[in-house]
Amino acid sequence: MSLFKYISPKTKDEVLEILQKEKSNACIVAGCSNVLPNIRDKEIKAKVLIDITNIEQLKGIYQKEDKIFLGPLTTINELIYSDITSKEYKVLTQAAQEFADPLVRNTATIGGNLVTASPAADIAIPLLTLDALIKIESTRDKREVKLKDFFVGPGETILQDDEMIVGIEFEQSDVNKNGYFIKIGQRKAMAISIATVAVNLEVRQNKINQIRIAAGSVAPTPVRLTGAESFLKNKEINDKLVEEAIDRVREEVKPISDIRASEEYRRYISGLLFKRAFKKLADSSIHQFTN
């Protein structure tokens, strides 16, 4: 066990200043559902732990003009019980409900789930289909990046040593309000995903006006399946199209074999989960669509 310095700042600016000073020597902690195990496994070697749980500016779920704002300290459970997410952005609530177990959901935060950058990050998948924008700050800069450009590799993001996430935003659009998330794991609770798929869909006159597809545990990072998306866009929905799209999804994912599942199974399951999510959304958008 190593010795750590623990700091609990009261404002966002204080955090940014400490980050500026300590850089890679610092590690931000909030829910601790990843940090503590990682400290135990000696994966985190940073010497300064910055506890941000007291910073009010980083909390909350609210509407901001035409957008929805999520503070990075929003816990997974808050996604389930917030009126905003549970009524209109069900794709987030569905993912939150499948997340770990109630105890972990009470502490784990969205920001933590994103910066951990696990390929299996369950909350990243719906945020990808909501086309979320990540607001990043440091003492020297403020910037915004699309979530799909945020992940670099397993455990790696574009965040610099002195930067932190200060907010997550997505639009209050029709497509964002029509989403569906499905997860398959080795068991129903406290299981890292074998595969997850989220779909957001907007249909106009039986044609796909907008579609976003994201998948987890099937590539080095959480991914948007933009190939399948562009294949589907502006097409008329029918069974043949769906079958073709399933093939595209299976081609586009890049899974590996590990202790939880084989590459082959993950590829197959991604297609299946896409089909289920798509049908669920399409069925409620148009009634003449057949099985």
């Binding site: 066990m1 195990p37 609770a189 890292i192 084989s262």
Partner: protein, 797 residues
């Protein structure tokens, strides 16, 4: 014997282990001794490597106390001493002297003022490795002529045994004439089955605290299912007189069979304490623990013959087990597997061949059934296959051939046998079938759609203890001291352990029933040890109630005899003219001359009188060996729902019938059955400790993050688990009781596999039946069907 009305047996009371629900219970890892050192263990990173030299001078310079192979006695032992010495294979020392045989094997240890310092010192230990071998992971590889030898020789009792082809031991048994039996058969079926290694995943990792005493003795708190065997072993290993080794009985945080043997860390802790001359505490991490013990896998080639009417004529059972780097109990294991196999059905003619093979994997030991769920999976799957082939209902085929009342039961291999005197098999199959709506079952060909449901049945059993009319290869007796206090309350001192299944509650109820003392006035306390209790072999082999409580009842009856003799003096009457009863209003046992209840004296008054007149204590100490090993039977009806798109198998419903004779703790009895069902689902559908073939390490890296067991959400909804008891009475058991623990798990895997077959028409021969396996099999079946349709088409053309 008729069923009687009891005042305490079968009734619900507050549990005895109140500390558990209030968080005040102490476990080995909660023990702290002033001045203690903290110990950590250096585990081997290699699966099979020669140790040339261990240098811990740098670590000692940091102030740590260290031990390596040279610091431990040369004494060769087997950590499990339940079997008699001449049937016990000995292949290990406290730390390995020459080479390591599996990853995670302890090679050295450090003790220091804090755990952090101990870890820091551990890093300074230098090991010079010699030859390293490629790990032997597969059984087939291990027995090859050119495979490296894991052992050159070991000892069986006092006899030296050379090890060839890594074969640890063999056991062959013949009953009747197998050739004649198969000649008589009109139908023969043969299949190969495999069950996997799984991890015990008991809540408490293994822990030990050792205090070296001034007189050269030691006091030890350690995770154990049997404290007296730990005492005997530690005395033998460290050459300490057995009266100077005191092992404390302390609550178990779960075990599932992994502490029948003395845990590997216990003597390491003792060796450190003796060297340091200070108390030492050693608590295993989960990663250490998962590399320390595992369930036995089993490969079974089973062939059975039957007449067209379903009468069995012969069975040939060939089993292989790879046991890992140490032989903890493979010889009795092979015997037990033979016994479970032989006692399921009337095969008439049996050929059994068993072989245990060393590999460079985690050592295997007993886990919830000691081979029973493994062989049951083969037998009960093959019985279903046979039933289909003969076009006989699976229940009818079982009813026709089961081993029941009046038949011989092998309770612990071929040498521990007794005659079955109580049997609920027929009732459980017939009543269970009604509850499970068996008659509504349709064949696989009738099922359509994405989600397909199927119902399967399987039956099993386990022994209740390892007693028998003659001493066999297994030591089995229990004991207790019972004393009546001056106010009429009662203390029970026993070494019998409680795994959490309620053995101590049962002890209290048995004493209350015999002495008619209110349940809450019977104390069974933790502050006992090997010095204050008489021998108890172990809480294993589902023997807690039948053997443990059997001994307690025997001692309680002796106390009752003493009590009535004292009372007779006071009443100026004969003991046989007195009646002992429980007066609930007074909260006391009372004694009165028969037919004159108003002339009672309370037990408190009698005890007080005995005390002030110096008649002496009303107390008794003794042991008892049970002369039988009655099977407790179980029958599982399981409904599964197979998702043909994902391969996932869910279990929406289960009907579980148990036969434990009289049930002493009804709530805990049901809890054991449901708990075992959950563990059984893990064994059937999910769990496996997989190994990397090159490194010899676990694929989960010792982390339970990647070793999942089912949680409550994988279980059927509460209302959909029906548990019922057969109406039986075991004449040789305490108040008619038998065991339940391991029986409850024995047929879960078989019932699940049979149900999956009923759902999708695919038979699985290897556990666990994972979604990937199901999906692959479904695809193969679809292709085969296409192919056969094409062929039929060709012919038509």
């Amino acid at each position: 014997m008729e069923k009687q009305q009891y005042e305490f047996i079968g009734k619900q009371f507050d549990i005895k282990n109140i500390g558990k629900v209030t968080g005040k219970e102490l476990y080995s890892s909660d023990i702290n001794i002033p001045g203690q050192l903290y110990a950590v263990v250096l585990c081997s990173p290699y699966p099979h490597a020669e140790i040339k030299k261990i240098d811990y001078t740098e670590a000692e310079k940091m102030g740590a106390i260290c031990i390596g192979p040279d610091d431990v006695p040369d004494y060769l032992y087997n950590e499990r001493i339940v079997s008699i010495p001449e049937k016990t294979y000995r292949d290990r020392t406290v730390l390995p002297k020459d080479k390591v045989r599996h990853i995670g094997e302890a090679i050295a240890a450090c003790a220091a003022e804090t755990e952090e310092e101990a870890f820091a010192a551990l890093k300074k230990i230098k090991i010079e490795w010699g030859k390293k071998w490629k790990p032997l992971i597969d059984l087939d590889e291990a027995i090859k002529d050119d495979a490296p030898s894991i052992y050159d020789c070991v000892y069986l009792g006092e006899e030296k045994v050379d090890i060839k082809n890594n074969i640890a031991c063999e056991r062959n048994i013949d009953v009747g004439d197998i050739d004649k039996g198969f000649k008589e058969a009109e139908v023969v079926v043969e299949r190969t089955f495999n069950t996997q290694r799984i991890y015990h995943m008991q809540l408490e990792t293994k822990s030990a605290v050792c205090v070296p005493e001034a007189d050269g003795g030691i006091t030890v708190w350690t995770t154990s299912q049997g404290i007296h065997n730990v005492r005997i072993l530690l005395g033998n290993i460290f050459n300490i007189p057995l009266n100077k080794v005191n092992v404390k009985r302390i609550t178990l945080g779960g075990s599932f069979g992994s502490s029948i043997q003395m845990n590997s860390i216990t003597p390491i802790c003792v060796a450190l304490a003796l060297k340091a001359k200070r108390p030492v505490k050693l608590v295993s991490t989960r990663e250490d623990d998962i590399y320390d013990h595992s369930k036995y896998p089993l490969k079974t080639i089973l062939k059975i013959g039957a007449k067209k009417d379903g009468t069995l004529t012969a069975a040939h059972c060939r089993v292989w087990v790879e046991i890992g780097g140490h032989n903890i109990q493979a010889y009795p294991y092979l015997g037990c597997v033979a016994g479970w196999f032989a006692s399921l059905y009337k095969w008439k003619n049996i050929k059994y061949e068993g072989t245990a093979v060393y590999t460079n994997k985690v050592p295997t030991c007993a886990m919830q059934g000691y081979g029973n769920p493994q062989i049951n999976f083969a037998v009960e799957s093959l019985m279903d296959i046979l039933a289909e082939k003969l076009d006989i209902d699976p229940i009818e085929l079982r009813l026709k051939n089961y081993v029941g009342k009046g038949d011989e039961f092998w309770g612990q291999g071929p040498t521990v046998r007794s005659i079955i005197r109580s049997c609920g098999v027929e009732e459980m199959l017939i009543e269970g079938a009604k509850l499970a709506e068996w008659e509504k079952r349709t064949p696989p060909s009738k099922k359509k759609g994405e989600l397909r449901r199927g119902i399967g049945v399987a039956r099993g059993f386990h022994t209740s203890g390892t007693g028998g009319p003659n001493p066999g290869e297994v030591i089995d007796y229990s004991g207790a001291t019972i004393k009546i206090n001056e106010d009429g309350s009662v203390d029970v001192l026993t070494a019998l352990m409680d795994h959490g299944g309620g053995t101590w509650d049962a002890v209290a109820k048995v004493v209350a029933e015999v002495l008619k003392v209110p349940y809450e006035k019977v104390g069974i306390y933790n502050e006992v040890d090997t010095r204050t209790t008489v021998f108890d072999v172990n809480t294993h082999a589902t023997r807690g109630v039948y053997c443990g409580c059997g001994a307690v009842k025997f001692v309680a009856e002796k106390v009752k005899e003493m009590l009535l003799n004292y009372a007779a003096t006071l009443f100026k009457d004969l003991p046989e003219n007195l009646k002992l009863a429980c007066n609930k209003k007074l909260g006391q046992a009372v004694i009165y001359p028969r037919e004159i209840p108003e002339n009672y004296m309370t037990l408190g008054e009698i005890a007080e009188h005995a005390h002030i007149t110096s008649w002496g204590a009303i107390a008794y100490t003794s042991t008892l060996r049970q002369k039988n090993c009655p099977p407790c039977f179980i029958t599982h009806f399981v409904e599964v729902e197979v998702n043909t798109k994902t391969g996932e198998v869910k279990v929406p419903r289960a009907v579980i019938m148990g036969d434990s004779g009289t049930i002493i703790n009804p709530d805990l009895w049901e809890g054991q059955i449901i708990g075992a069902f959950s563990r059984g689902l893990g064994f059937s559908l999910l769990e496996e400790t997989k190994y990397d073939l090159n490194s010899g390490g676990l694929e989960c890296n010792g982390l339970i993050t990647d070793y999942k067991i089912p949680t409550t959400v994988e279980m059927p909804k509460v209302d959909n688990i029906i548990v019922r008891s057969a109406h039986t009475y075991e004449p040789t058991g305490p108040f008619g009781a038998k065991g339940i623990g391991e029986a409850a798990l024995s047929s879960v895997g078989s019932a699940v596999a049979n149900a999956i077959y009923n759902a999708i028409g695919i038979r699985f021969y290897d556990l666990p039946i994972t979604p990937e396996k199901v999906l692959k099999a479904l695809k193969r079946k679809e292709e085969e069907e296409k192919e056969s349709r094409r062929r039929v088409g060709d012919k038509v053309d």
